[in-house]
């Protein structure tokens, strides 16, 4: 087996047995990046020097006979939305070009403490606004399964890098589906944890009541390992919840007997791709055969999700992105006469189209005279949507749906039609509005060989149940073992 194809747990075993060094693994990954990233374009920048320093530290530790943790010496990629001390962090935006944070995000700090190796920073839609990574201010990332297709977004660089074996695993972030939808498009595993499970400190804010950091990995076991490595309360994020982090490995069991699975009829929407529907149905049948109790449920407010979401997230974004004023960080236009013009031109030249569109929309829905009709109304319907889930989880343990209504679409297909682009998030958005966790894993391929993702949602802080159902599914299928033919 080639080193870059390994999972976290496989590489860990080889490191412990001293069959491979962290340095060799890191070299193999950088060689792989050199071979394929010209096509995929997942990375914005690489951090070789620091990566090899960490690799050698791990190797010395192993040579001394010390025990190493699950993530120690594992080369991973980081979405460029997470602040990394001393290393440029752009959030996919020209307005942050040249911004060098003086601190690490809490998740970065945690992974450094655990000895993980950072290979580089991964491309994304600007400020995580998008479903295709076409909104990056720097480059278009391509889907490793078909280079004319989008990798999904906004964590498109992370999902594409994992699928193309350009890192062992990656971190992404998810505000309305930005981990799960790209994971689905690229045929890998992605988990959005419960809101509050993972600290958002050092995550560049888009919509603070929805954003959450999570793992993108090659299999479910890796998902459990990386989730364990980043979870937990943080005094620097007052919305991170102070509950114990379980050892997620205990949920990796091939057994779902008696697990109650709900299938919400509202998720099988008009316009759903028939191949996605067939793959989802086959997955549900397989879970039923495995002993789960499958039943139909209703989440009646689902059709309102996109409308609620694009009011709330743009409102929060218009406020969060007010800080990019050409004064404190990053870019400042040099064409201005006075302060107001400096703001206006800096933001005009620094932000891309989608970010401007969302700031304008968010400013409008919060403005005097419209607040009640839009923001308040959306927040009330959010309550109704959340109570749909509360009721459903009285009767079932998990909810299973497709992750996206279609497989990856073509580059350029939806850029001129923002509403159509927004509707591609329809199946992932409700999870963020309700703050619950959800996981996407591969459940098939369409005729053209593009991956199809299965979404599993659970109760607040019940990531363990998601891992159990996903692990069981994975143990009884081989979709996760398929690799794109890139070379």
């Amino acid at each position: 087996m080639t080193l870059y194809e390994l999972t976290i747990h496989q590489l860990h075993d080889l490191l412990v047995k001293r069959e491979v060094t962290a340095r060799e693994a890191t070299e193999a990954l950088y060689r792989r990046i050199g071979e394929v990233d010209g096509k995929v374009r997942a990375y914005l920048r690489l951090t070789e020097e620091e990566a090899f320093r960490q690799a050698e530290e791990t190797d010395r530790k192993i040579l001394r006979g010390e025990e190493i943790g699950d993530l120690e010496g594992i080369p991973i990629g980081i979405k460029d939305i997470l602040c990394t001390e001393g290393l440029e962090t752009t959030c996919g935006s020209k307005i942050l070009r040249g911004y060098i944070p003086f601190y690490d995000a809490t998740v970065i700090k945690k992974l450094k403490e655990r000895g993980a190796i950072f290979l580089g920073k991964l491309n994304m839609d600007e400020f995580a606004m998008g479903s295709s990574t076409e909104n990056s201010g720097f480059q278009i990332t391509r889907n490793p399964w078909n280079l004319t297709c989008i990798p999904g977004g906004s964590s498109g660089g992370s999902a594409a890098a994992v699928a193309a074996d350009e890192c062992i695993a990656a971190l992404g972030t998810d505000t309305g589906g930005s981990i799960r939808q790209p994971a689905s498009c690229c045929g890998v595993v992605g988990l959005k944890p419960t809101y509050g499970r993972v600290s958002r400190y050092g995550l560049i804010a888009f919509a603070s009541s929805l954003d959450q950091i999570g793992p993108i990995t090659k299999d479910v076991e890796d998902c459990a390992l990386l989730l364990g490595g980043i979870s937990g309360h943080d005094p620097f994020d007052s919305t991170s919840v102070n509950t114990e982090v379980p050892d997620y490995k205990q949920y990796l069991v091939n057994d779902i007997k008696g697990v109650r699975i709900g299938i919400p009829k509202e998720y099988f929407v008009e316009g759903m791709d028939p191949e996605v529907e067939r793959a989802t149905q086959a997955a549900i049948d397989l879970l039923g055969k495995g002993g789960a109790k499958v039943r139909s449920i209703s989440l009646p407010h689902t059709p309102y999700a996109v409308a609620i979401y694009y009011i709330i997230c743009t409102a929060e974004a218009s406020s969060n992105l007010a800080r990019y004023d050409g004064v404190k960080y990053g870019f400042r236009s040099n064409r201005y006469e006075d302060l107001l013009e400096m703001y206006g031109r800096t933001r005009a030249e620094g932000f891309g189209k989608e970010v401007k569109r969302r700031i304008i929309l968010g400013t409008y829905v919060l403005s005097a005279g419209y607040y009640e009709a839009y923001y308040r109304k959306a927040s009330q319907v959010r309550t109704l949507m959340k109570s749909d889930f509360d009721k459903a989880f009285d009767e079932v343990d998990v909810i299973v749906t497709p992750t996206a209504p279609t497989p990856a679409f073509h580059i350029g297909e939806k850029v001129e039609d923002p509403l159509q682009m927004y509707l591609s998030d329809i199946l992932t958005i409700p999870v963020n509005l309700a703050g619950i966790p959800a996981l996407s894993l591969p459940c098939g391929f369409n005729r053209e060989g593009l991956p199809i993702g299965l979404q599993i949602m659970g109760r607040h802080f019940d990531e363990g149940m998601l891992l159990r159902v996903a692990y069981t599914f994975e143990q009884n299928t081989d979709f996760h073992l398929k690799k794109p033919a890139l070379l």
Partner: protein, 92 residues
């Protein structure tokens, strides 16, 4: 037309080109029309949700400790002078 785009762009401190005003104007019009479906629901008496998980204020002990050094913060700024952010004249 639902939105006075010039006014909103001014509030958002973004200078839009004429082309952007036209395309954003019609795209946002379409999006706002889509959002109006929320009005089909009666939400009388429904409490709005601003956070999916109950959030309470978090206090820390009020003790003196070092804060981030000024130079570190200023380093990220596009223009600075004598330990301050430098901006165009604000008061005439």
């Amino acid at each position: 037309m639902k939105m006075d785009i010039e006014k909103v762009a001014r509030l958002a401190r973004i200078q839009l080109t004429e082309e952007e005003k036209r395309t954003f104007g019609s795209q946002l019009e379409q999006i706002l029309t889509y959002m109006e479906q929320l009005n089909r629901l009666d939400t009388t008496g429904v409490e709005p949700t601003s956070h999916a998980i109950p959030v309470v204020n978090v206090f820390r002990v009020d003790e003196v400790r070092p804060s981030t050094p000024r130079e570190k913060i200023l380093k990220a700024s596009p223009d600075q002078e004598d330990g301050h952010f430098k901006v165009p004249r604000i008061i005439e």
